[in-house]
Every structure is written in C-alpha cells, then in structure tokens.
Amino acid sequence: MLEIIGKVAKVIGPVVHAREVANAKMLDLVEVGEDHLVGEIVKLDRDRAAIQVYEDTTGLRPGSNIYSPGVPLSVELGPGLLGTIYDGVQRPLEVIRDTSGSGYIQKGIHATPLMREKTWEFVPTMTIGAVVEGGEIFGTIQETSFIEHRLLVPPDVKGRVVWAAPAGPHSIDETALRVEGTQGEAIEVKFHQRWPVRTPRPSKTRLPLRLPLVTGQRVIDTLFPQAKGGTVVVPGGFGTGKTMIQHALAKWCDADIIVYIGCGERGNEMTDVLMSFPELIDPRTKRPLMERTIMIANTSNMPVAAREASIYTGITIAEYYRDQGYHVAIMADSTSRWAEALRELSGRMEEMPADEGFPAYLPTRLAEFYERAGMVQTLSGREGSISIAGAVSPPGGDFSEPVTQHTKRFVRCLWALDRQLANARHYPAISWLDSYSEYVDEISDWWQDRSNGEWIGLRHQILNLLQQEGKLQQVVKLVGPDVLPDTQRIVLETCEIFKNAFLQQNSYDKIDMFCTPEKQIKMLRVITDYYTLGLEAIKKGANIHQLKKLEVYSDILRMKFSVSNDEPEKIDAIREKLHRSMQQVTEMFE
C-alpha cells in the first residue's frame, strides 16, 4: 500500500521539503521518516514538494524516506463517531491515551478513528435488485439511544444491489452491500466510508433558511438569532466569554448533532467539556449531551499543522450527518488560531504575505469553510443543515484585524463581544449596539407562530428603546440622570431592567442556563409592558421613584431565576401583577 515517493531535503519546523518526488499528487496524504509522521503535500514543483506535517518533527533528518498511500487526507465516517474526541487529523484521543498508557501524546502513534471490534445492530432497508445511487440510505444502526445512524451509499457509487448484509450485528469493516456498477463493475460498500476533508460532500440542492437555531440564550434568540444552516462569527478579546458562548451553544442549541472544534485553544477547556457533557441532560431528548456530540480537540500546544486540518475534519464529519438528514451545528473555537496556523505554515514556505503576515489566500479559505454551511436537500431527498458559529480572537480586541474583517464578509450574523460588559461581568457580553443578524426576516415566521404574531413588534420596540437609551446615556455622561424628564428616565429604567433581567444570563444557574422560546416571549412582554404602562402612569403624573418602589419591580428582576422553564404561566401572573400595580399608581392621579 505504502510507496516511497521521495526523500526529505529540508526540515523547518512543521514544514518538510522533499526531493526526488515521483508519483505524488497535490494534497496527498504522506508519512514522513521512519516514525511515519503524518503529513500532507501542499506544494508541488517538478520533483520537489512541500509537506506540512501533523506531528512534531524533532529528530527528523534529511534523506529520510517519504511514503504515501496515494490518497488525500481523509476522515473515516461511520457509526461510532458520536461521543468521541479526536485530534485535528481524526486520531481518537481516548484510544491513544489508553494504548500508550501515558497522559502525554507521544510521537508517531497511530490509531484508527472508528472502533474495529465493536458490532452494531444493522437494520437493512434496501432490497436485492434495487437500483441505488450515491447518498441513498441502505440501512440504519442505532448509534446512540437517540440518534439513528443512517447508512449512506457513498456519493460516487451507482448501480444495482446484488447482495446485502443480513440484519443483525456487524462490525464496520464488514461488507454491507455489493453493487453492480453501471459499467458492470463490482463495488463493495462497507459499513464505513472515507471522504477527503478538503472536498465538500455533495448534496442535491440548497434550500432557503427558515428555521431558527434555538439556543436558549435570550440575547441570541430574541435579538440576534442564528438560523439553522446559518453562519455566525463571535469576535472578542480574551476574557470576554467566547468560549462560554460556544459552550452554551453546544449544550443548549436545538441541533441534532454537535461538532465542537477546539482549535488551538486551552487543554483544560476541552477537559471541561469532556467532564460536564456526559452529566448534562439535553432538555429536549432527556439524554446526556455527549450522545449527540463529537469533539475535535487540537489544543494550542499540539502540532500546528493538525490545527489547520482540524476545521476541515470537523466540517466533513458534520456533512456526513447532514447527509443523513440531520441538523448539525458546528462550533469552531477559535478560527483565529486556525488562521494563525495558516500564517505560520505559509511563512515557513516563504510565501509572499498580505495583511499582517497572513497569506493572500486567507479570505478564500475562510469563504470555502463558511460556504460549507447551509440548509440542503440531501441526495436522498431529506432535509439537513449545517450551522457554523466561529469564534475569532482579534489581537488586542481590535476588530479591524484581517481575520475578523474577512470573516464578516462571509457570514451573515455577528455577535460582537464587548470588553466593558465583560469587565462588569455582564454575560453573555454580546454588545446590543454592535451585533447584528441578517436572519431575522427569514426566521420570524417561526417566532410569530409562537407569539400570536407579536414577536416582531415586541422585538422592534425593545431595540428602539435600546437605541434611545444609547443616545440618552451620552447626555447622562455629561450632566447626570437627574436632569432628564421622567418620560426619558423610564427609557433608561426599562433598558436597565432589560439588561439585568433579560440580556444577562447566568450559565451556572440551574434554571437560567437555558431559556425556552416561550419563556423568552413572555419575559419580553412583561418588560415592554413595564415601559408602556410606566410611561402612561408618568404622563398621568406619577414619578419614576414611585415606579421603582413597586413590589413587582423585584419580581421582574428575578423572574429569570424564579420561574422555571416548565411553568412559564407564572410569568403571566407577574404580568398581571404589573398591570394591577400600574393601575393603582395611575388611579392615584385620576
């Protein structure tokens, strides 16, 4: 299988230059030296090649052999992906830990991504003689208690089924189908397949987006919603809570499958996910969150080239589940580290740099990645989607740097994290003045159906108030709030409530960590009512201090903690109380 395709000529960190190269193709997988370090051909020039190596090259010498199986860098797709944690080139980290018996990742360790010995209960759905095409489902396997793994005919296969594996237990290396191709050739389809990571998997058509990706985070769902199949970028300086938001999404968003890519970030953060997810229960399926999660962990101190590959590994796995008809959400934390890996490799290959040392093809690569998101009709005619949330870590928190700027061109939703909010421990620190979502119109029907057609209006009203507040705050900064008339102070007051009681959300509080759409709508109603009724009362003669003294005021501030998701009607009670109290105040002046 392995063929010698050249020799090492030069080693500069993760980049290896090869000489006497024959029979190599661009982006082919290679193994370098006698440790068989995994790498990929990224440049070909006559009989010379540049290779990026996914492992530490310490000790590698010129003259060593370079081997290649002649296939591109690919991932293995099949049952057993869910609940697993991989490195950037899909090596299963738990298996590596157990087989090496060491807490450290040693060099040159090989392990297959999917478990070979494990058998899965196969339920065939395809009959012998049937004509199949790529992307069709030929059987199912219950992968976890909630996710049914739909086995797909590989995209490039077409023909007539001549044999199918019987129902019952099978391991992934067994043959599942024998197909006679259109040219009469015999094709074997196994229970797993491979797909090159840098090639998007095909689908039938792209569909318009219309469903929100409900995250249970109020500031996101209500103000800056993400759509299923949409893309969002989350830029923020260090300590502003990018990872917290990514974790919250991975925990609570209503996708079927989560692919979490820890790309060049902290080791302990991955450990945190690994520890907490098996214990956390999905509010919808009531199953441990780990059963729907796949993790790609290439922490900052792991080889930089594998970091570059990690987001492709992640998205290819996501596409595989999309093709089965699932809604998949990807969190990539952080795409800046991926871009830096690109920069480092580009620098070592002595390419001409563009902005801040990044290669000129950075925007192209970003666009290619984000365009793999979307809602599609799969080859088998089902509906599936991939949504991407990419964190960006701008140097110095300055959003004008290349990665943030280029990413903004290719995504349609921005959650800008604000240093001042984070400093005040206002989390999630998503700035309501700088963020936006272009998906509002596309998904508003979904919300209108659930709010008696009020959602658009309520949302509009609160955004308006926030805008007014922004202007008023400038005045307040100069002269203090006391000089403002009460009709304006009620704006400040309402926004203060909105920020504290609605936008801020405590991800460690058992109740507040997740908020159903129903509860969000009801809370929003209470707060906008506070403004409308309060303004009325003030116009009748009441003053702002009387309103603040109402007992219902603290009920409103605490409703996010005090009312659980199962009993949203309690918020109606608060709303009624608000109406009664306001009426009493107003009556005093009538």
Partner: protein, 464 residues
C-alpha cells in the same frame, strides 16, 4: 544538569560557514536532525550548546544559546549529539540553583540524575487531564475572593515596570495553601532576564519563610546570554513535571519575566529574516507561548500538580501589546496590576475589573469555599464597575451634582479599595474573612441594589 556523558559520542565537524547574531550556518554535514542539540567548541576549547533550527541536505542552521562571540569560521568545531536538549532530573534538584540551560551554578556537586527528560516536553492529551477545581488560598482578598486560583491553573500576573509584582508573588508563595490539607508546595522559580537584586529578593524571601530546600532555581539573569532564555522556561517546566508527576508533589512554577522571553524569540526570528506579525514578533509567538503555558495542569490518576504563575511586564502598561494579549488568550485568566491604585498607595494594586480567573467557577462554593462566594464576587464586580462609571461622571459634573444613590456608590468604591483590596504584605486572610469583608463593604449599599445576590443570602449576611 545537562548530561555530559554523551559528549564523547556523536558526529564532529570542523569549520562553520557563517555567523549571524546568535545563529551559525554550517555546511558539509550529514544526517542532522531537526531540533537536535549541537556542541559548539571554539578555538580555546570552550563548549557552548546550540539547537538545530533548520536542517537540509548537508546544511543546518544552529542557534547558539550562549552567544556567538569569539567564534571563528575555520576553527569552530561542532559535535551533534543526536538528540534534543535534555535535563537530568532527580530528587536532589530541590534546593539547588541552575543556569538557564540546567547546569548547576551554586558551586555544589552535580545532583544525582534519576532520569534524562527532554526539555521540550510533550502535549498533554486533553482526555488525560484532570480538571482543576481545588481552591488554593493565597490569603489575599482580591485574589481569593474575586479571582480565585485553583490547583493546576495557569494564572499570570500582568504588571508594569515599578509595580510591586515581586512582592505580590513572594507573598503568594509564602501563604499559598490548600485549606484542610497538609500539603506543601514545591516551587520552581525560573528567572528570564531579571535583575540580580530581584533574584536575590526571592532567594531571601524563600530563606525567611524556610522553604528554600523546596525550591528549584533556574536562573538566566539580565546579563546572561539572551538566547539561553528560550530554553530556561522549558528546563524549569521539565523540573516541575518531574517533581509533580514522578514525585507527586504540588508544584508552583513562577516564570519571570515572560516579556524578556518573547524579546529573545523576536531577536532570533529577526535574524532568521522571518516574516513578522505584530510589532515584529514572529507569527508563531502564540504557539510558542502555549507550548510553555499549557504545561500547567494535572493528570488523571496521578497525584501532583503544576500551577503556573508567569509574571510579565506590559510594555507601556499596554494590555493590548502582543505579549500580554497572546498570553491572555492562553492562560486561564490574569491578575492585572494597576498603576493608579499603586500611586494611591493601595497594596496589592490588583485592578478590579480586568482581572479574571477562568477556573474560579468550579473551585468555589459550598464545600469548597462558601455557598455565597460566587454571588458575592459577582456583586462586587458589578458594583465596582458602576463605581467606575460614577467616578467618570463625577469628574465631569462634580460630586455634588450626583444623585444620592451615586454618592453612596462613591463611598462604597472607596471603602472597597481601602478595606477589601488593601491588606498588609504579611497579612494572611482566610477565605471566610475575605467573604465577610466583602459583605461588610456591600452592606454600605442599599439592599435593593444587590441584584446578583439571592434573598436568603441577603437575609443571612447583609448588614451583619
């Protein structure tokens, strides 16, 4: 110490091709591995160490740790050791002083070597990490109460020139303990380009608190070769890994000053004519720093831990400078020292708002510190943040024009700084004391303002 027995082995070449700053270029050599250690012998027989940065057919680029002065083109001899830099570790390294390459410089005999460890270390498998959650009491309210340190964390101190970061770190190493446990911390102290008197200050401090025999010093002082600094933290962390995961000790690693380390990295990068990113620092600064910081932590099923406290001075007090900025993206929070507080004679001058401990959430609360800890901390942050706004407003319109509530906030702010933040250099507060002082200053605010605290907690602690 660095192993000597390999010196006789390996391949030897005479004559080099080019010397440029700390780098030498050699040709006509064979079979040299990337990152391999080379011994460079000058005409007088003095041996220096270097590492291979780039290797090609018959040529290599070597970075010389101890500088290149006195090297001549024809007479310099080079021996390749066939392995990367190793540090001979053993129980006897405790209480000893080494130079930045790991050679003993305290005049004592070479310590007994139990194991030769590669100083570059390996990446910890994320699935083998034990998540840090054990509260370390430093006895300093601003840290324990609001930016809690836990065992296995990497929490740097972002400081500026002239700020008392050394005093603070010395106080932390003196007072750090796990409540209810009798474990002592071993300390690995790595100096990178710091002044002699600073290093002496630490030695004296460890001496006074009687922990000297639990400290390993790896010293590369300001007048030592700057390139050596690139391995100093790696040698220190190798020592720490041995103490933590072989001898199962709890190790506190102090790296001072990371800014000097980064300067050396920039120097090498410039000589190699690499494409710079921000401020001339190489594009791989982030990856390089993470290879150091990520060596903190704990392993599942293995006793022992490495807690890191890197110190770095922010050039011009600028937190967005690449060194603090990239560090902040890797470390699990940061303790930021503020010049304004220092000028007002507040010790420790720990800035309230930009300081952060990311691992705090899992190390505090019922059974670890106290049930109300999270809410008290959150309320202090929120209230102090409002104080900052009020102060800005007062600067414009004058204090008299403030609303009564805002005046109360001003008062709270001053009391918070004087009573909560401020404490003596030798004052060791328990976590309960810290929380009680927190409640005391919060009680200067009206009850209705404390949104982040639950009803029961208010009833139990407010105004008590």
């Amino acid at each position: 110490m660095v192993d000597m027995k390999h010196r006789a082995e390996g391949r030897q070449y005479i004559g080099i091709d080019q010397v440029s700053g700390p780098l030498i270029f050699v040709k006509g050599i064979h079979n040299v591995g990337y990152n391999e250690i080379a011994e460079i012998v000058d005409s007088k027989g003095r041996v220096r160490l270097g590492t291979v940065l780039e290797t090609a057919d018959g040529a290599a680029v070597i970075q010389v740790f101890e500088g290149t002065s006195g090297l001549s083109i024809p007479e310099t001899r080079i021996r390749f050791r066939g392995e990367s830099l190793r540090f001979g570790v053993g129980t006897e390294i405790l209480g000893r002083v080494f130079n930045g390459l790991g050679e003993p410089i305290d005049g004592g005999p070479p310590p007994m070597v139990e194991e030769m460890m590669d100083v570059n270390g390996l990446a910890i498998n994320p699935t083998a990490r034990e998540y840090p959650r054990k509260f370390i009491q430093t006895g300093i309210s601003a840290i324990d109460g609001m930016n809690t340190l836990v065992r296995g964390q990497k929490l740097p101190i972002f400081s500026g020139t002239g700020l008392p970061h050394n005093k603070l770190v010395a106080q932390i190493t003196r007072q750090a303990k796990i409540v209810g446990e009798d474990t002592e911390f071993a300390v690995v102290f790595a100096a990178m380009g710091i002044k002699h008197d600073v290093s002496r200050y630490f030695v004296r401090n460890f001496e006074e608190s009687g922990v000297l025999e639990k400290v390993v010093f790896i010293l590369n002082l300001a007048d030592d070769p700057s390139v050596e600094r690139l391995v100093t933290p790696r040698v220190a962390l190798t020592a720490a890994e041995f103490l933590a995961f072989r001898l199962h000790m709890h190790v506190l690693v102090i790296l001072s000053d990371m800014t000097n380390y980064c300067e050396s990295l920039r120097e090498i990068s410039t000589v190699r004519e690499e494409i710079p990113s921000r401020k001339g620092y190489p594009g791989y600064l982030y990856s390089d720093l993470s290879a150091i910081y990520e060596r903190a932590g704990m392993l599942k099923g293995v006793d022992g831990s490495i807690t890191q406290m890197p110190i770095l001075t922010m050039p011009n007090d600028d937190i967005s400078h690449p060194v603090p900025d990239l560090s902040g993206y890797i470390t699990e929070g940061q303790i930021v020292l503020e010049r304004e507080l220092d000028q007002r004679n507040i010790y420790p001058p720990i800035a309230g708002l930009p300081s952060l401990s990311r691992l705090m959430k899992d190390g505090i609360g019922e059974g670890m510190t106290r049930a109300d800890h999270a809410h008290v901390a959150s309320q202090l942050f929120a209230a102090y943040s409002h104080v900052k706004d009020v102060r800005a407003l007062a600067a414009v319109i004058g204090e008299e024009e403030l609303t009564p509530l805002d005046k109360t906030y001003l008062d709270f702010g001053n009391r918070f700084e004087r009573e909560y933040l401020t404490q003596g250099e030798y004052e060791d507060r328990s976590i309960v004391q810290t929380l009680d002082i927190g409640w005391k200053v919060l009680s200067y605010l009206p009850k209705e303002e404390l949104h982040r605290i639950s009803e029961e907690e208010l009833n139990k602690f407010y105004g008590k």
